[in-house]
């Protein structure tokens, strides 16, 4: 994973709340077996509406998304994160995220920052005044800057640290592999296994 420190890019307003992962990427696009190439699937149904924000040339190349509350709720599909990432988004800001989506984002280097509803509306207003305006995200200071206004955002310290360092979770866990082996040695024998029943 690439380390994330700062990023400047075109700010995109998604002026709706409760954008679930089914909206971010409809189920028909989950059939691929690759981890990349999902950019066309991002908001696939919504993009068929001509007035949808991603169809506005002013936001071409957008990389920072400002969404209403409850972004990424529902299905666990990590494809939602891949689609945002493949489209070019580096950061999403919302007053509230779905838990699984937020966890998935952190593992794929997509920054999810929590700001208040008022702050989202401030950003929407700034973008509306100057469509195509850029914003800057600084993870070292957990600050977002748009149109001269600095806004602090929230992200949990552990995810922030991993993003800054670009650390891979599995590698981190395997550093403690002996602990896992020790834990396994203490597991009760009657705990279920998936081995065919005759083979136990």
């Amino acid at each position: 994973m690439e380390p994330f420190t700062t990023h400047t890019g075109v700010a995109v307003p998604l002026t709706r709340s409760a954008v679930d992962t089914d909206q971010i990427i409809p189920a028909v696009y989950l059939k691929r077996v690759t981890k990349t190439g999902f950019d066309d699937a991002l908001f696939a149904h919504l993009r068929q509406q001509p007035d949808f924000v991603l169809n506005d040339p002013a936001f071409a190349g957008g990389s920072i998304l400002f969404a209403g509350p409850d972004f990424g709720t529902g299905s666990s599909r990590e494809h939602a994160v891949w689609a945002l990432r493949d489209y070019g988004f580096k950061a999403v800001f919302s007053p509230r995220f779905g838990d699984i989506f937020r966890g998935n984002s952190g593992k794929q280097g997509l920054l999810t920052g929590v700001i208040t509803e008022e702050q989202v509306e401030t950003c929407w207003a700034a973008i509306e005044a100057q469509p195509g305006i850029t914003a800057t995200v600084d993870l070292t200071t957990t600050t977002l800057t748009i149109s001269g206004t600095s806004i602090p955002f929230e992200i949990d310290a552990y995810t922030r640290w991993r993003l800054l360092e670009g650390l891979d979770d599995i590698g981190l866990t395997l550093r403690d592999e002996p602990r896992i082996t020790a834990f396994e040695a203490g597991r009760e024998a009657w705990r279920p296994t998936t081995l065919p029943v005759g083979d136990r």
Partner: protein
């Protein structure tokens, strides 16, 4: 740049055997490989990893790229469910991308030594139906799957939750997950459900009460006399939809109902192991003096059959009610969301819900496709004919459920009624296979999500219980079982 690990954030006290604990805390603490320090997450051991074709291919690719094996194939099991067709299952899958995904799972299972139940196998079916049916889902264990409805398994007193594909890879490689502890919320439902009111109505009422984000960050423990009185099937229906309230997991403490369901199942402990397991399971219920981070109360006696009118599972009300008027909603976000939902659903405020006509009825999904659900549906439609012009699909949750239903003659009741009796899978719950609504079609569905486009692009979903689905299939409009003169099993 280099930073040191973050400063203490939400440090947990060391696990203390004497401190009163909730069910969730007991199970969590029993699986701590390592306690997180300085804001780092805990490392939790995973007892059971369920795998399906949609969220796993990229995880296996990751393992391959790093040369990592699956650490515990013996704690991992795979099934094909999301993409599988529910007709002509003996023919090659017509949709090429669906077929590729299924074939990829088969190749990966073989390469990494994972037990797989493929289409046509008697144990194939929706992953959340298969685990409990085999007796793999047991009290006090940790269960994960790359699917948000993994919360279903919490009905046994397990900590069970959905994960993303990166986490699937993490569990395959390490049999653990780094996780911040969940907060605990008690949802207490006291009293007796009226005839025709089911577990589905309870959970829809819970979600309408606490909202689709009310459970965020929490594991929900469902308690109280109404929950205790439910079958395991009903408890699974409730825990299944915990994610729809924003929660990662839902749980019910194990009791005699749980033990009776498990005993004799293929993977349940046997002999002395059974006695040891039951003795342990009896220690799991929440201690009397344990404290939850939040509590919610619901009276079972007042509950009515429930139905959703909007495009998230929290937008629901009693079936005897009317389509609400967004103008009366004080919260601007709620109002905006309701306005958008009514536009999508093509509904007018004030319309009695029972006047809404449907084009389709879907009886299935990991929420309501166990044999008990099929029996409830069958009891109402038996000897009747479906409403003209309404398409009725009955999709069992697993191949074994299908066999059980056929052994009881339920299939004959469904086909005589005019319903399509299909093979097992996720089917029209999410429309990854050909089972989809056409744009503008309206469906009464026993599934779990009424999101825009969930059952097919432009499709409109009303979430209901199996008995409401049955009554609706008879009348062609959203209907309660009390609108029909029929024996109601619940």
């Amino acid at each position: 740049m280099t930073e040191t690990a973050p400063a203490p954030q939400n440090q947990q006290p060391a696990p203390d055997a004497r401190r009163p604990k909730t069910l969730a805390e007991k199970v969590w603490d029993a699986h701590l490989v390592q306690q997180g320090e300085d804001g780092a997450p805990d490392l939790l051991y995973i007892d059971l990893h369920l795998v399906h074709e949609v969220t796993s291919p990229q995880a296996y690719d990751g393992l391959r790229a790093e040369g990592r094996p699956v650490r515990r194939p013996d704690l991992t099991i795979a099934t094909e469910d999301h993409n599988t067709p529910t007709v002509d299952i003996d023919k090659p899958i017509a949709d090429l991308t669906s077929r590729t995904q299924i074939e990829t799972l088969r190749r990966n299972a073989k390469e990494f030594g994972i037990r797989l139940h493929s289409l046509g196998d008697v144990e194939q079916g929706i992953v959340h139906i298969v685990g409990p049916q085999l007796g793999l889902t047991q009290p006090g264990i940790t269960v994960v799957c790359g699917d948000s409805h993994t919360s279903t398994h919490g009905a046994f007193g397990a900590i069970a939750f959905g994960i993303g594909t990166s986490e699937v890879e993490h569990v395959l490689a390490t049999q653990t997950l780094p996780l911040q502890p969940f907060k605990t919320m008690a949802i207490t439902v006291e009293g007796t459900l009226k005839p025709g009111v089911t577990a589905k109505d309870v959970i829809l009422a819970v979600i309408a009460k606490i909202g689709t984000n009310g459970g965020q960050g929490y594991v929900l423990e469902y308690r109280g006399s109404a929950i205790r009185a439910l079958s395991m099937e009903g408890r699974m229906t409730i825990c299944n939809m915990s994610i729809e309230a924003g929660a990662r997991a839902g749980m019910v403490a194990p009791d005699e109902t749980t033990f009776a369901y498990l005993q004799g199942r293929p993977h349940a402990p046997k002999g002395e192991d059974w006695d040891a397991a039951v003795a342990y399971w009896r220690t799991l219920p929440t201690d009397d003096d344990a404290v939850f981070d939040a509590e919610v109360f619901l009276g079972a006696d007042e509950l009515e059959p429930f139905v959703t009118w909007g495009t998230n599972p929290g937008q629901g009300t009693t079936l005897s009610g009317i389509v609400p008027d967004p103008a009366t909603m004080t919260d601007p976000q709620q109002r905006e969301s309701a306005e958008r939902a009514l536009q999508y659903m093509d509904l007018t405020p004030g319309t009695p819900l029972k006047e809404i006509k449907v084009d389709a009825v879907f009886m299935g999904s990991c929420t309501n496709s166990r044999v008990e659900d099929l029996r409830q549906f069958a009891a109402i439609v038996k000897g009747r004919t479906k409403a003209e012009g309404v398409r009725v699909m009955v999709v069992p949750g697993s191949a074994r459920v299908r066999l059980e239903a056929e052994a009881e003659g339920l299939d004959k009741i469904f086909t005589d009624f005019g319903a399509e009796w299909r093979f097992a899978g996720c089917s029209m719950c999410l429309g990854m296979n050909p089972d989809q609504l056409a744009p503008g079609e309206r469906c009464a569905s026993t599934s779990n999500r009424n999101f825009e486009g969930r059952q097919g692009k432009g499709g409109r979903t009303h979430l209901v219980s199996p008995v409401v689905a049955a009554a609706t299939a008879i009348r062609g409009t959203l209907s309660s079982p009390s609108d029909i003169e029929a024996e109601v099993l619940v």
